[in-house]
């Protein structure tokens, strides 16, 4: 019996490991290619065609759909404006409230668990249920909110029927629904800051505000960035909330991009145009992400 008797298997251990890795990852990768990469390519193609679902005809039209959106369709710019207003209203409000709540709830005191549970509860609730209940609360004259306002002598607007107020209502109710998520991210980040920093600063006579401004806030930087990116992108994804509360109305006052894509694609069956909108959305979201990350990198 010689040493050479045992021949090497046709797969080396190293090749075997790589093969197993691809095997492990293949379901995810296959799904990713089929349901994400493929569609992403398809949407580029669709956006260059005039494709009417009803007539089942597809014609290549070049950049006509983009031209339509950017230079001819008045709705489009209103939708972009609405999306920006929605994001600009929602993101700072959400983050400020989340940080304030986190600061209040990152210490230990009786009731802290109760409050955390309360502020987080809407996050686990379905957006549909949340929208239905708030739509009910915000009914015109008979709605609960307005009845309460009337009780203290304020004549409330018909929240969801006036374009500007509808936008406010949609933003605020969405913030209440989602703020808990950012709150717990901030709480986790605050609790990860070593206590010694605060103690050292206090010994040097720093006030609460100085401690926050000069120690806590800079240390929260990375978390703030992550939260900002997630929340901004999230604001562009909002669909169900608006679909149920206002249906994009009144007078397209709450018609945002996600909803507009749905409307054009699945209600008006203008697949080419809707796909061009989807591409525009893709570019906006990617652009925003890159800009925010770049800004942050320059900062630090």
């Amino acid at each position: 019996m010689t040493a050479r008797d045992e021949r090497a298997p046709w797969l080396t251990l190293k090749m075997r490991e790589a093969m197993e890795a691809w095997l492990f990852i293949s379901p995810t990768l296959a799904g990713f290619l089929i349901f994400f990469v493929g569609p992403l390519c398809a949407v580029v193609w669709y956006s260059l065609t005039e494709w009417n679902l009803l007539s089942q005809q597809s014609v290549f039209v070049g950049l006509d759909n983009y031209d339509d959106a950017l230079f001819h369709n008045l709705d489009f710019w209103q939708v972009v404006r609405n999306s920006i207003v929605f994001a600009i209203g929602l993101v700072p409000l959400n983050m400020a409230l989340a940080l304030a709540l986190a600061l209040a709830l990152s210490r230990r005191f009786a009731g802290v668990v109760f409050f955390r549970t309360v502020f987080f509860a809407p996050v686990v609730t379905s957006a549909v249920a949340w929208a239905i209940v708030w739509k009910f609360l915000l009914q015109g004259e008979a709605g609960f909110v307005n009845q309460m306002l009337a009780g203290i002598g304020i004549h409330g607007p018909n929240w969801l029927r006036e374009p500007d107020w509808a936008m406010v209502a949609v933003i605020v109710t969405r913030v209440i629904k989602m703020v808990g998520l950012n709150m717990i991210l901030y709480i986790a980040a605050l609790q990860a800051i070593p206590r010694d920093y605060e103690a050292a600063a206090r010994l040097e006579g720093a006030s609460n505000w100085q401690i926050f401004r000069m120690i806590t806030w800079p240390l929260l930087g990375p978390t703030t960035l992550v939260i900002m990116v997630i929340t901004t992108i999230g604001s562009f994804k909002v669909f169900d909330h608006i679909y149920l509360m206002t249906g994009g109305g009144p007078e397209n006052g709450t018609l945002v991009l996600a909803f507009y894509i749905y409307q054009q694609g699945f209600q008006f069956f203008d697949v080419g145009y809707a796909s061009a909108l989807a591409m525009i959305m893709f570019v906006i979201v990617m652009g925003l992400t890159v800009v925010q990350l770049a800004l942050r990198r320059r900062d630090t």
Binding site: P27, V113, A188
Partner: protein, 284 residues
């Protein structure tokens, strides 16, 4: 006079003020739930009458009507079994992929991870139109398949993959080496050592995946047309009179039925659930 208070008393007073302020802020977070339950027990006329948290007469009948109006039990079951299926599939697939990304050496690992992460940034609205045609081409329109396939292989599955990867990376590697020395195959190491030690991560993935599926709206709206195939969110939005106005008392009763069980589970396991979301957010 303030000056006569001791440090300790001062702190107590401050704490009470803070707590009161937090209670005020909490109102819009809690009240909608209370009002939902209350209004779901009122009749169509009382619902817009003088506001009162306790209904003048409890109309339990609303809850019967909910089931007569549409096949609500069937729809409830649809949501439940779809969410369970999606959760189990996601756990299986994302923990496999997460393990490969965390532990196995292969050319292209970094690239695969980068591709998957970038997909997280893209809203599903971008790809929903081609996916609609894909599902139709596969002959799966008006079935529950898209409601299972799209979340499992979409961003939810990717979130799960990275959550698992992060957790696997932190596990002591020597345990898996010991498993290999004991004769386990790669699959065996994953199944019998890595997974049993990853219960917290698996629980986190399960929780966020289940809730995501349970609350899914856009996909059912686009793919499902038959009433008996509706899921809960779609069913809830469907309590309307023939002219499209909401039948509030039924809608709110049904919403209560949909929300309350989840809320109960949340109250019992709030710590674990909140941690799960924190875990999934931090990695993003």
């Amino acid at each position: 006079m303030i000056g006569s208070l001791t440090q300790r008393q001062l702190r107590a007073v401050k704490q009470i003020c803070w707590t009161l302020a937090l209670c005020v802020v909490a109102i819009p977070f809690v009240f909608p739930f209370l009002w939902m339950i209350s209004s779901g027990l009122k009749g169509p006329s009382e619902i817009f009458g003088q506001p009162s948290l306790i209904p003048t007469s409890f109309r339990w009948n609303n809850y019967l009507e909910v089931f007569n109006y549409q096949p609500f039990a069937r729809q409830y079951f649809n949501s439940l079994y779809i969410a369970v299926t999606v959760t189990l599939l996601t756990l299986f697939i994302s923990s496999l992929a997460g393990y490969a990304l965390a532990r196995l050496r292969f050319a292209g690992a970094a690239l695969v991870a980068l591709f998957l992460v970038s997909a997280l940034m893209v809203p599903e609205e971008v790809t929903i139109i081609p996916n609609f045609f894909l599902i139709r081409w596969l002959g799966l329109s008006d079935t529950h398949w898209p409601l299972i396939l799209l979340p499992v292989f979409g961003s939810q599955g990717i979130v799960g993959t990275f959550l698992m990867r992060q957790y696997f990376l932190a596990l002591p590697k020597e345990l898996e080496d010991a498993g290999k020395m004991d004769g386990l195959s790669r699959f065996g190491v994953w199944w019998r050592i890595a997974l049993p030690m990853s219960r917290p991560a698996l629980a986190a993935v399960a929780i966020i995946t289940f809730l995501n599926s349970w609350n899914l709206f856009l996909e059912p709206l686009i793919f499902i047309s038959s009433l008996e195939k509706f899921t809960l969110p779609l069913a809830l939005s469907n309590f309307t009179d023939p002219y499209g106005s909401p039948l509030w008392h039924l809608q709110l009763a049904a919403t209560t039925l949909a929300v309350l069980p989840i809320l109960m589970v949340y109250l019992i396991a709030q710590r674990q659930i909140i941690e799960s979301f924190a875990l999934s957010g931090v990695k993003g």
